[in-house]
């Protein structure tokens, strides 16, 4: 991303990189901003607007400003007229038009968030999911939908993970968390496991949902969410190479490995809002294990695969 167009951001990056002892997480978000090449000029200008007149002297400042951008330009209420930047015409270059609309998509959701304004408790939700109690699940979905804005939803396809899910059995929440790079689900040893829902719906349902304003699928960029060290931008393929022409989003796999051959990239996309229905609630489970991989190593393995896949040895170069 041309951070040079946002002087305060650029200055922060320069200063931070010169600092010794930069954490892997902070390094990751800085690298992501530098590597990102899918944010067009118009969008970058809007992003830059939130930096106007603000100083960026720490990653806290950077986080706060990107959060402001997200709240202002991505996390749009269904009742508001604007559409999230991700699905705006000036991000059309990243649109993903070619997914078969019969495919199932999977998305992991935090039950704590889903229940925030709900009229049921988690025990009732678990029972309802287990017994497929339509009345309770409908009520749950209705109040949850009221809470959900139109921010881009990170998801994957069922076919991308069905073998992983099958092998994982009851451990699917931990496995899927790792494979999709959902590192913010990371319970430390003294806390209770985090209840999560696995939502399943079709591509066609996303495209048909008018509550989103502009239904669609997009390859995610670094500014399609909060400042997240587990995100990794996806490069454009080299123009004159044999690299795959059809581009997709790639998630950092957090399963702890140390070699290139062991590492497998995850697959991710973002899509527009879909109003959940009871039949979309596929599974309820719990993320119980803390992350144990080394983020710096995993990111380096991920980068190597991306460079290979896109035939872009220059991508991510210092």
């Amino acid at each position: 991303m041309r951070t040079s167009r946002i002087p305060t951001l650029d200055a922060y990056i320069t200063t931070a990189l010169a600092r010794t002892g930069l954490s892997a997480q902070e390094r990751a978000v800085i690298d992501n901003l530098r590597m990102e090449e899918r944010v067009g000029d118009a969008r970058l200008n809007r992003y830059g607007e939130v930096f106007r007149g603000k100083s960026v002297t720490s990653v806290d400042d950077l986080y706060g400003l990107q959060r402001n951008y997200a709240i202002q330009y991505l996390e749009i209420d269904p009742s508001e007229a604007d559409i999230p930047d991700t699905f705006a015409p000036d991000n059309a270059a990243n649109a993903w038009h070619h997914i078969d609309d019969r495919l199932y998509l999977l998305r992991m959701e935090d039950v704590g968030f889903a229940l925030r304004g709900s009229k049921i408790d988690i025990a009732e939700l678990e029972l309802a999911v287990r017994t497929r109690d339509g009345a309770v699940l409908k009520r749950f979905c209705d109040s949850w939908n009221d809470w959900r804005d139109r921010r881009p939803a990170f998801a994957t396809t069922e076919i991308a993970v069905e073998d992983i899910l099958k092998d994982a059995g009851d451990d699917w929440p931990n496995t899927l968390r790792d494979f999709l790079g959902l590192g913010s689900y990371n319970p430390t040893s003294h806390v209770a496991p985090i209840p999560v829902l696995l939502m399943r719906y079709t591509v066609a349902e996303v495209l048909a949902d008018k509550s989103s304003g502009t239904p669609g699928f997009v390859i995610p960029t670094v500014i399609d969410g909060r400042l997240n060290p587990f995100f990794f931008p996806t490069p454009h393929p080299a123009p004159d190479s044999d690299a795959a022409k059809y581009e997709i989003g790639r998630a950092v796999n957090l399963r702890p490995v140390t070699t290139q051959s062991e590492y497998r990239m995850g697959m991710e996309l973002v899509h527009s809002r879909i109003a959940y229905k009871p039949e979309h609630i596929w599974r309820l489970g719990r993320v119980s294990r803390p992350l144990t991989g080394d983020l710096a190593i995993l990111r380096s393995l991920h980068l190597a695969w991306l460079q290979l896949e896109a035939d872009r040895n220059d991508f991510g170069a210092p």
Partner: protein, 702 residues
């Protein structure tokens, strides 16, 4: 490089260190989105924090969150430099923390201050997906150690706003069986009552909300699996003492028709004992004055039965009406002592009634009068002014304030109150007769005569006015005029015992004055500041600070009387808060015109983005300043602040028809409905602006 878990995330650890050292600032920065939590940054704060906050810091979080909330509640303004949406998110996150952690101090404080927190939240900016109110309600519902929130849940059910009522029903579901925290393991009676009260509100007018209400029936059926006849019985018992409107019964027919039929002979349901004023209370009052020490314990025991019924069923209807009626009795003078029977007890009853039904005018009238009778003018005055602001559609709230002011020697203020009540209720002779009567007992007899004469121009054949005028003429010793007026009163009288008694008394007084024995006049009391307690209890009942009510009321009073100097003087002592800003803005209309007023309200909207009253005033000012205000502007405002719909609709069309919900004679109408009816009826009248301002002020504190 360290792995991701064995060593805490450095960003997370840095915040934990800050939090341990300075909890409140660290929590504030976190909630305001100024802290990057490293690996947890993609999660919302309430989802991230439970994953890494050590148990040893949970108490610290409890104390810090409590301090943070107290700090927020000190002002209605969005913190400087913070976007309204971001602040709304911070509030959502704060209450979501209360859902996710066991924070007993904060929870207890929120429950204790529930009315205040709720009132404050209602003027905060909220967005559909960032609304702190449901999160707050759910946080309260989830961890209830006792049944203290029952009146609050029932109030939300009666109010009938879908989202709030559903969460209130959730609160009733989660409420323990008793105050010791025993888990409720059956269908709570109060839940059925809350459900019926919600239905009473939903069924006003038409069937448009039938699906919504039946959806709730279906949901409850799923949550409490029972036989159909058991559900029918539960509803039948719930409806036994206070029948719901026919429409609600018809709705219920679609699920449990047996609920509307006689119970089967084999029914074992044992309804709570019925309570009836005529049977339970009246016989005791008949003996009260002869032996209050003997009767009081029996009376208190009866009241306990009302309390028990309300606590078990959640139905406070009978409690409120009985307590206010009994309170009035206790405030009246005993025939032998010529002093109020027991104003302290009356005050307790009034406050208890107000706790259960804060929107019941009689409760507040009783509280104000009881305080006044106790000599607590400081608090009485505040409650009188509050009642006038909260219930402007009720002439009594104006008249009793006017009377109280005059009886404290503030006759000019009292008269101004009455004069403005007359502007609001030009067809109501009571405002006139009360004004004249008040002037008379305040010793301003000539003025009283003038008012009676003035009133008789409009209500020539009003017997109360004729009697009142006769009385004051007798006071003045103008026997001939009094005799002529008494004759007129006789012509207007009917054969009722009361009428005949009044006329006989007047005849007796007239005879006495002719014999040279005039009766004494009532003396006024000084309007000195005197309080027997602080405002905390009263503020807790209304959810706002009552202290500024008199000054706030005086600003509006003098502004509407075109006495801007006195209005400004009253305003000068007021701090800035949404209601005082409205007054500040409206004063500008008189001196600077609507364009300046519009600009003022534009700034107020920035200052209080969640205050619907301010928003509507801004839009009104724009329209009056000649700005183009189109339907989309009004509709957008209505979408956010439905409770202001009557003014918004009338602004768009002064002849707007009243919604069916307000004209449904079969439905129970509460104070809020009556206020709306009053507003709609004034839409096309010359009183519109005055009543719109009253309506907005009332809704602002409702």
């Amino acid at each position: 490089m360290a792995n991701m878990n064995t060593t805490p995330d450095p960003a997370t650890q840095a915040w934990l260190d800050d939090f341990a050292a300075e909890p409140l600032p660290a929590l504030d920065r976190l909630l305001m989105g100024k802290v990057w939590l490293g690996g947890y940054a993609a999660a919302e704060v309430p989802d991230a924090l439970p994953q890494f906050l050590p148990i040893a810091l949970h108490d610290t979080l409890d104390a810090a969150l409590l301090d943070w909330l107290k700090q927020q509640l000190q002002t209605s303004e969005t913190p400087p430099g913070v976007n309204a949406k971001i602040y709304a998110q911070a509030l959502v996150d704060a209450f979501a923390l209360l859902q996710g952690f066991d924070l007993p101090q904060t929870r207890a404080w929120c429950a204790e201050q529930v009315t205040s927190v709720w009132a404050w939240l209602k003027v905060q900016a909220a967005f559909r997906t960032r609304d702190p109110r449901p999160v707050f309600l759910r946080a309260l519902a989830l961890a209830q150690p006792d049944r203290k929130l029952l009146p609050f849940w029932m109030m939300l059910c009666r109010h009938g706003v879908r989202e709030e009522a559903e969460l209130a029903l959730f609160g009733l579901r989660r409420m323990p069986k008793d105050d010791q925290g025993e888990v409720e393991r059956s269908l709570p009676r109060a839940l059925i009552q809350g459900f019926l009260d919600y239905g009473r509100a939903a069924a006003r007018g038409d069937d448009s909300r039938k699906k919504e209400w039946l959806g709730e029936v279906d949901f409850l059926t799923a949550v409490y699996p029972m036989r159909g006849d058991q559900w029918a019985s539960a509803f039948r018992v719930g409806m036994a003492r206070r029948s719901p409107p026919k429409r609600l019964r018809h709705w219920l027919d679609e699920r449990y028709p047996a609920a509307n039929q006689e119970p089967p002979r084999t029914s074992h349901a044992a309804p709570l004992k019925g309570l009836y004023w005529d049977e339970d209370i009246q016989p005791l009052l008949g003996r009260f004055d002869r032996n209050p020490q003997m009767v009081s314990p029996a009376l208190r025991a009866k009241l306990d039965e009302y309390r028990h019924y309300a606590r078990e069923t959640g139905d406070s209807y009978f409690l409120v009406r009985t307590f206010t009626r009994l309170g009035e009795y206790l405030l009246n003078q005993a025939p032998h002592t010529q002093t109020p029977r027991d104003p302290e007890w009356a005050l307790d009853l009034g406050q208890e009634a107000a706790l259960w039904e804060p929107s019941n005018h009689y409760s507040w009238a009783l509280v104000a009068r009881a305080l006044n009778a106790l000599g607590d003018w400081t608090r009485a005055r505040a409650v009188f002014w509050y009642a006038r602001r909260r219930f402007p559609h009720n002439p009594f709230s104006h008249n009793q304030l006017g009377h109280a002011l005059a009886m404290r020697g503030l006759v000019d203020e009292g008269e101004a109150i009455y004069r403005q009540a007359i502007r609001r209720f030009p067809d109501d002779p009571v405002c006139w007769s009360d004004l004249a009567h008040t002037l008379r007992v305040a010793g301003r007899h000539e003025q009283a005569v003038a008012v009676y004469r003035e009133a008789q121009v409009f209500f020539h054949k009003n017997q109360v006015l004729a009697c009142g005028l006769t009385g004051v003429l007798i006071d003045l010793g103008r026997a001939d005029e009094a005799r002529a007026e008494l004759e007129w009163a006789y012509q207007l009288s009917n054969d009722s015992i009361n009428d005949q008694r009044t006329l006989a008394d007047l005849r007796h007084r007239l005879d006495a004055i002719e014999a040279g024995r005039p009766l004494p006049w009532k003396r006024t009391l000084p309007a000195e500041e005197r309080s027997l307690g602080d405002f905390s209890n009263l503020n807790g009942l209304v959810g706002i600070d009552l202290c500024p009510m008199p000054a706030l009321g005086l600003v509006g009073l003098w502004r509407n009387a075109n006495d801007l100097q006195r209005a400004r003087s009253a305003l000068s002592g007021l701090a800035r808060f949404p209601a005082s800003d409205v007054e500040r803005g409206l004063i500008l209309v008189h001196s600077k015109g609507w364009a300046v007023t519009r600009d003022f309200f534009r700034n107020s909207v920035q200052r209080y983005p969640g205050d619907g009253c301010t928003q509507v005033h801004y839009q009104r000012a724009r329209a009056r300043a000649g700005d183009q205000v189109d339907a989309a502007d009004w509709n957008s405002l209505r979408g956010r602040f439905e409770e202001f719909a009557p003014v918004i609709r009338i602004e768009q069309n002064p002849a707007a028809t009243m919604p069916a919900a307000l004209t449904d004679n079969d439905a129970e109408q509460d104070a809020d409905s009556e206020l709306s009816v009053w507003m709609y009826r004034a839409g096309a009248s010359s009183r519109r602006d005055l009543i719109e301002e009253d309506f907005l002020a009332a809704r602002q504190i409702a």
